[in-house]
Amino acid sequence: MDQDKKHSKISRRKFIKGIGGGVVGGAVLLHNLPVLSESAIEPAGAGLEQKYPLIFKVNAKTVRVLVESSATLADVLRDQLQLTGTKIVCNHGECGGCTVLLNGKAVYSCMMLALDAAGSEVTTIEGLLNGEEINPLQQAFIEKDGMQCGFCTPGQIMAAQALLSKNPHPSRAEVMTGMSGNLCRCAAYPKIVDSVLAAAETHLK
């Protein structure tokens, strides 16, 4: 993923932590461990957090939801909108599993506050479907076997979608670099790169 994207994530993460919300669950839990016996940590309004209306477009439909200020975009997509194709893997902006498009640009939805998406247009993996019909990029991932377990696949495809919209005819090296922000532990990388290149070629025809 490009550098500026990562930088913006770090400040977001600090912001989330700053307001003391429980969103960074695992991280907060571990952070607390050494002081478990102390009762010093008292998150403000735990469980009673104020909710705010969020209006944004998701997969071309206008959506209105009430969200906590600390909720990430990934949480809202998965838990409130049941768009479970977006995966939370590291919740830390490191792996790309939660990649969605925000106004056409790839973002890590685990590192973005949902309220920051107000007025924006979000596309998730579910948004690439036209009825039951898959798009050429998804088709290429099937044909080139660009996956194994498939858990990182929605994130890979969304990152590839953004890459191809920015650079419709990338070289192999450009694809490898462009996709390097999305971890795949099964390491289907050569086939993921093949899939993206094949999709670019389909586009050419």
């Binding site: 478990l36 735990a46 479970t84 590291c90 830390h92 390097s180 795949c184 099964c186 990388y189 086939k191």
Partner: protein, 803 residues
């Protein structure tokens, strides 16, 4: 044996492709139940302590806490373990590693529960933390599990020939110590499980990211004191496992089940990455001491091997992991005199268990490094030294087993790899070049050791000379399936419907490797159908016999064998029915091809497969069958480590080409040629995927990955610090398959998943040696290892952007 195939060996797209590219695949955390609760763990921040009191008073009346589960809620056995029973579902006596869980808070608001978990008070008696496995067997070592009376988990001796005579017959002896590191599986999907109480008969259904549903069922039933039939485990789509979603998931399933029965509501547990890394088991770090005697011609005369494995806090799979090590520690070489001792010990470190490779990557790194050292010492090339010693048909292995009744393709994979890479010439050329740089490296390593950075002017090297090329190879044999580890059999259930479509499911589990597609190909090939005719069912312990675990690269061999048998049973019934129907001789052979059935002798007699099924169904022919594939007998004498360890073997050779930057210490993997004999390739796409994945994971193991811990606490808890390879980190990977005949497995198909991983780190290490002229003994070969020849482990400090 069938000569031509319609599907086997061809590239077949995976059956689950559509669901995975659309985000519709149902992973465990995508499944929710109405009225569902969450379970959140309570841990104590210590590696070793006796628990005196856990005090929930501050939170137990909190309206969001519906219940708190502890050891007291376990009606059956609180102590679990697949081999050795030593791991509590909830700790109530001792904490032996920081991942340990003392209680689980259950309620609706997961985030709030995570905060409340920090308010649990406790009284403990801290005990000294044992973190150095080399001290685990000292007489004054603190006991991790006092009931075991020693920190020894297991000791396997292997004695063959006369080791002293072997050394006395040797012209040269090389003696070296190698170490390997702790690493995390890093499956992309963190652990998730849901337990649903079924009130009607006090039973429970479990759905989760579970690698081995039958093992999970056993552990849950044991904890709840229920018959196995009252626990039904369904596997959700699994987001990677690599051996890692076994013990941890079994225990998580038990915790969720206890809470579900206690509250009468579905209970979900889902881990965040940090919690997953903290609690789950890892790959064993090994300390390997090898002493090898050989003749001046290069023939190995004797090998004395001492291996110490850090099992961490619980035994887990250590007894089986180290058993594979003892069987394979000499590598694929004929050695007359062998004396091997492998020990696994308890420490307060994170516990270690099954991980892809399973006790083979560690000894392969040591043994293949030593083979190259011997070659260097004798002025031979690495392929020459292996030629002299490698196993062939009729050879006797270190365990005294004669290799027979299958193609022993070791020399064939070696030759193929050597030819494809022009190995000997490249290796010699790089070796000649590295002579000029060697004094520089030796000097920097020496100066690093005494922490002085001053170099003489004649030590300076032009920057472009710092980029060194090298090539290295590694060779292995691998026993297929479980071997003498345990009972080895697998089942498949196949049910043909009256329209000719069919259900298929095996007792083994899809872990993302493409097993469902492979099994569908096997069924389709046998019945002359296409893969689309087969509907692969979700694995559920209620619908198919227990087939043992999905481990040891045994799925295609064992489960695939069972699928073929099931399909053959149905085909034979249809054949018999049609012979009657067409009034043919019983000896007449019918062909099942391209969705048709026809008689070879009388081409007029042809029917579509669907028509045959319709007819047979109406005549009351049973069109469903269970195929059962039992592994052949193996035998093992544990006192001397002798016997037929495995019923068959696979062979592999990988060649790595690297560039080493001596300035930064970075090793670039330019190309890996991976030559494997998996017996028979069933799905070419799946087989290639296994090679890409195994090689990349093997490169990560060789170069970057390491979980370090201070006083038992893991420093690297997320992917900002655990460096798993990205799409840019490994160069070209070239899979090459050499097929060999075997009487076992479907059409001789055996194993591939693990062989692809076990060789890569060793091949890279040998390539680095070739590039720079220096041997590195400690994995991973990261920047500091190359530049400083030592590891930088800041005491207690976190690396990277700590949370």
């Amino acid at each position: 044996m069938k000569k031509t195939f319609n599907l086997v060996g061809k590239p077949v797209i995976r059956q689950d492709g559509y669901s995975k590219v659309t985000g519709k695949a149902r992973f465990a955390d995508d499944i929710n139940y109405p009225d569902q609760l969450f379970g959140v763990m309570v841990r104590l921040p210590i590696a070793h302590a006796r628990i005196k009191k856990i005090d929930f008073s501050e939170i137990e009346n909190h309206p969001s806490v519906i219940t708190i589960c502890t050891a007291g809620d376990i009606s059956g056995s609180n102590i679990s373990g697949i081999i050795k029973q030593d791991q509590p579902v909830f700790c109530d006596q001792k904490i032996v590693t920081p991942g340990d869980v003392v209680a689980m808070l259950v309620g609706e608001d997961e985030e709030l529960l995570r905060q409340l978990a920090g308010k649990v008070k406790y009284e403990i008696e801290p005990l000294p933390a044992l973190t150095d496995p080399r001290k685990a067997l000292d007489s004054d070592a603190v006991l991790i599990h006092p009931e075991s009376k020693s920190n020894l988990i297991v000791h396997y001796p292997l004695r063959k020939g006369d080791i002293e005579r072997g050394f006395s017959q040797s012209d040269h002896i090389v003696e070296q110590t190698y170490t390997t590191q702790l690493i995390e599986h890093g499956y992309i999907e963190p652990e998730t499980v849901i337990a649903i109480p079924l009130a009607a008969d006090r039973s429970v259904k479990i759905i989760g990211s579970i690698q081995n549903p039958f093992t999970a069922r056993r552990i849950v039933a044991q904890a709840l004191d229920l018959p196995l039939t009252r626990v039904r485990v369904e596997q959700a789509e699994l987001g990677g496992s690599f051996g890692g979603k076994d013990d941890t998931m079994d225990i998580l399933s038990a915790r969720a089940a206890v809470a579900a029965l206690k509250t009468g509501r579905p209970v979900k547990i889902r881990y965040r990455r940090e919690e997953s890394v903290l609690e789950s088991y890892k790959r064993h770090p090994y300390i390997l001491h090898y002493k090898v005697g050989f003749s001046r011609e290069g023939k190995i005369k004797a090998m004395k091997i001492d291996i110490l494995a850090d099992g961490g806090a619980y035994a887990s799979m250590s007894p089986f992991v180290t058993w594979r090590s003892v069987a394979q520690a000499t590598g694929p070489y004929e050695v007359e005199n062998v004396c091997t001792d492998v020990r696994a010990v308890y420490t307060n470190n994170p516990y270690t268990g099954a991980m892809r490779g399973f006790g083979s990557p560690q000894p392969i790194f040591a043994q293949e490094s030593i083979m190259d050292e011997i070659a260097n010492q004798l002025g031979k090339t690495p392929d020459e030294i292996r030629w002299i010693n490698c196993l062939h048909s009729g050879s006797i292995t270190a365990t005294g087993q004669k290799l027979e009744k299958h193609d022993v393709n070791l020399i064939k994979v070696l030759d193929t790899a050597v030819q494809k890479t022009n190995f000997s010439r490249q290796w010699q050329a790089c070796k000649d070049k590295n002579k000029s740089i060697l004094p520089f490296i030796q000097k920097t390593h020496a100066s690093q050791a005494d922490k002085s950075l001053l170099l003489e002017s004649e030590d300076l090297v032009a920057p472009d000379l710092l980029l060194r090329k090298g090539i290295g190879l590694a060779l292995s044999y691998r026993g297929c399936s479980l071997g003498a580890e345990g009972i080895d059999a697998a089942a498949a259930y196949l049910s043909v419907q009256p329209d000719g479509s069919l259900y298929l499911v095996s007792g083994l589990a899809e872990n993302g490797q493409g097993m469902r597609t492979t099994f569908s190909i096997i069924a389709a090939e046998t019945l002359g159908l296409s893969v689309e005719d087969i509907h692969y069912l979700e694995l559920d312990t209620g619908i198919v016999p227990d087939s043992g675990p999905t481990v040891a690269s045994r799925s295609t061999l064992m489960g695939g064998g069972a699928v073929k048998i099931a399909a053959e049973i149905v085909r034979d019934r249809l054949q018999k029915f049609l012979c009657d129907f067409w009034k043919l001789n019983k000896q007449d052979v019918l062909c099942f091809e391209k969705n048709k059935v026809f008689s070879e002798s009388d081409p007029q007699k042809t029917l579509r497969f669907s028509e045959v099924c319709q007819l047979a169904y109406r005549k009351g022919v049973c069109l469903a069958a269970i195929g059962w594939y039992p592994g052949p007998k193996v035998d093992w004498d544990e006192s001397v480590g002798q016997g037929a360890a495995y019923f068959t073997y696979v062979y592999g050779c990988q060649v790595a080409e690297v560039t080493v930057n001596l300035g930064t210490g970075e090793v670039y993997v330019d190309r890996v040629v991976a030559v494997h004999d998996p017996g028979k390739v069933i799905n070419l796409l799946g087989a290639q995927g296994q090679v890409y994945g195994g090689v990349t994971q093997g490169a990560g193991y060789g170069l970057w990955e390491e979980i370090s811990s201070a006083d038992g606490f893991i420093r690297e808890l997320n992917f900002d610090q655990i460096f798993i390879p990205t799409s840019k980190d490994v160069g070209e990977i070239v899979p090459v398959f050499v097929e060999g005949d075997d009487q076992h497995g479907p059409w001789g198909a055996k194993s591939l998943g693990e062989p692809t991983l076990e060789l890569t780190a060793a091949a890279i290490a040998n390539a680095v040696r070739n590039a720079v002229g220096v041997r590195f003994f400690n994995l991973p070969l990261n920047l500091e290892e190359i530049v400083l020849k030592r590891k930088l482990k800041p005491g207690g400090l976190k690396r990277g952007s700590a949370v």
